[in-house]
Symmetry: C2
Subunit: 347 residues, 2 copies
């Protein structure tokens, strides 16, 4: 079935049918109805390739995640949630979503090539990009439309991005701990060549400053967003006797917790612990983790909205969006925090 077949069936020309399909004016109401009826009858859908050839658009957005090893598998709910958010928007706006995943045993250049050479998507969302990622500069070079999740490593002003307020959130964490009387506040960071990791450290520092506490580099362990970095980081920090540890992520904190328990110390009595992201593991930990809650799903949703708006020229690029966060206090920092129920009880 093609446009012309429909036209013949209705007794009008191709152009009229095309107008109806694309909701264009200059079609009589009666004609429009007759056309719509036949389209419905025949379950007709215009050929996307033919349409793309002439319009230059595919109604597809691409999503590229270069770092699967750390992000995809480490924080194992970050990624599905981001995708879910993006999907939410693509459904609403009637787009499809093309996905690229980086490979551990593949050079960055290869990934960058695959993604940037493919012209099928009308624009891209890229996440978890490090400072040195070639994809980033490449996309800028070839002037591809894209939106970053997290703050861009460079050209910050020129690039479209959606992120959460990492700096403010970390400041809040430090403030919370300082208010509870903690004085030797250490940190195990996330990956520092990524936007989120770097900003959370930045917030930790400015938080200390605002609280009037000294900054001590011995209390800073540069890590990555994974459980084993948390474990190793904590082992490293323990000799320096921190009374509280701010972690770059909840999985990091869960590793740190393991290390603390291993040496027989208690949380929060001996050491307070704070995560970031409010993943499942934060609630499932014993004790549950104080953390920063934010909606990864919402970030994905908004990033996709922004990208599509840019593609359809509804907003002007560059555009920056910073989404809010919320401090969630649990027992890992405050023994008096409200307890939450974990599972539904049997009736």
């Amino acid at each position: 079935m093609k446009l012309e077949d429909i036209a013949k069936k209705v007794g009008v020309s191709r152009s009229t049918v095309s107008r109806v399909i694309n909701n264009q004016p200059y079609v009589g109401e009666r004609t429009r109805q007759r056309v719509l009826k036949v389209i419905e009858q025949e379950q007709f859908q215009p050929d996307p390739a033919a349409r793309a050839l002439v319009t230059g658009r595919n109604e597809i957005i691409g999503v590229a995640i270069p770092q699967t090893t750390n992000v995809f598998f480490g924080d194992n709910s970050y990624f599905p949630m981001l995708l879910q958010g993006i999907a939410e928007t693509t459904i609403k706006r009637d787009y499809a979503m093309l996905l690229w995943l980086g490979h551990s045993h593949e050079e960055r250049a290869g990934f960058s090539d695959r993604v940037s050479k493919n012209r099928q998507p009308d624009g891209l969302i890229i996440a978890s990009v490090t400072e040195i990622d070639p994809l980033f500069s490449r996309l800028i070079d070839i002037k591809r439309t894209f939106v970053m999740v997290e703050t861009p490593p460079r050209f910050t002003e020129l690039v479209n991005y959606v992120t959460i307020d990492n700096i403010r959130a970390s400041e809040q964490v430090v403030e919370h701990l300082a208010n509870l009387g903690y004085r030797r506040i250490a940190t195990i960071t996330g990956q520092l060549n990524m936007g989120d990791g770097a900003e959370r450290l930045k917030g930790y520092k400015s938080g200390l400053e605002k609280a009037g506490l000294p900054y001590d580099s011995k209390l800073v362990y540069p890590g990555q967003f994974s459980r084993d970095y948390g474990y190793n980081g904590m082992k490293h920090l323990l000799p320096f006797k921190p009374d509280a540890v701010v972690c770059g992520g909840d999985t990091v904190a869960s590793g740190a917790l393991e290390a603390i328990h291993e040496v027989g110390l208690k949380v929060p009595d001996d050491v307070a612990l704070v995560g970031f992201d409010d993943l499942d593991v934060a609630v499932q930990s014993d004790p549950p983790l104080t953390t920063i809650r934010h909606s990864v799903q919402r970030v994905g949703e908004v990033a996709a909205q922004l990208l599509i708006d840019i593609i359809e020229e509804k907003v002007q690029a560059p555009h920056h969006i910073v989404l809010p966060t919320e401090l969630v206090v649990r027992q890992s920092s405050d023994p008096n925090a409200l307890k939450e129920v974990m599972y539904p009880v049997v009736a």
Copy 2:
């Protein structure tokens, strides 16, 4: 830049350039080299839309996951791994991957519509489909090329699929427990209207039979692949005094473990516990879970290979592939099982 521009630059015709690009014969070696050089210089890539219009192919495979609430977020590493496996193959075969995620607050019909009406992908992989899913029948109706992950709910013989040997695996679990002397072996199943869930129950039953143990419906709790179903299921089973529980998945088992601990019983002393899938949670549990190991990633990889082979007519449909599994014995069923090290130790 189009085909013709390259042709002009080299001083040959469009067709010659096209032949070079598509590795066709009847091009002089000298000419071929000259063309390749200019293509390289200009970083030329043929317009995918134009190409698709004439070939009818896009080099895109679609991936559809209707059930995000349970599968996507519940078993939070199942999904990323499946995608990672599919991605592995698409990279190798030079395909791209179009992703559809179902929405909790969307009727199944809507999802089914979106996926089946989109003609961009050359074929589809569908996962986690229940018996009643309209997508399944729809795809058959419109004769779309697709490969299922898990055993299809109906028309099993006619549908392409890749799955693991769930039945044999469950039998092995029961055999293992019976050998250790357990006699009242209960089960908390996965979702029974999905292939994996149903087959694992089937294997549990035939396993009992082979072990010469009686089947008791009181010892079967029909659940879903999630932690709270495990918790509730275990609460329900406890009054019937099982001495071992076979769970439909590791997350289910981890919920069951919680319930067992809550009433002050010990694993495996009072009740043995076995999971399925060998997710991270299986190792992280205390005690670590005996489980069935299989590679979800491999399933994805093979499913994509099969699909692309079918698209390119390298194999004939329908085609069925069953991948092997491995029983991993840990402390949750056998106190004498070897202990594994969880984290790398600080140097």
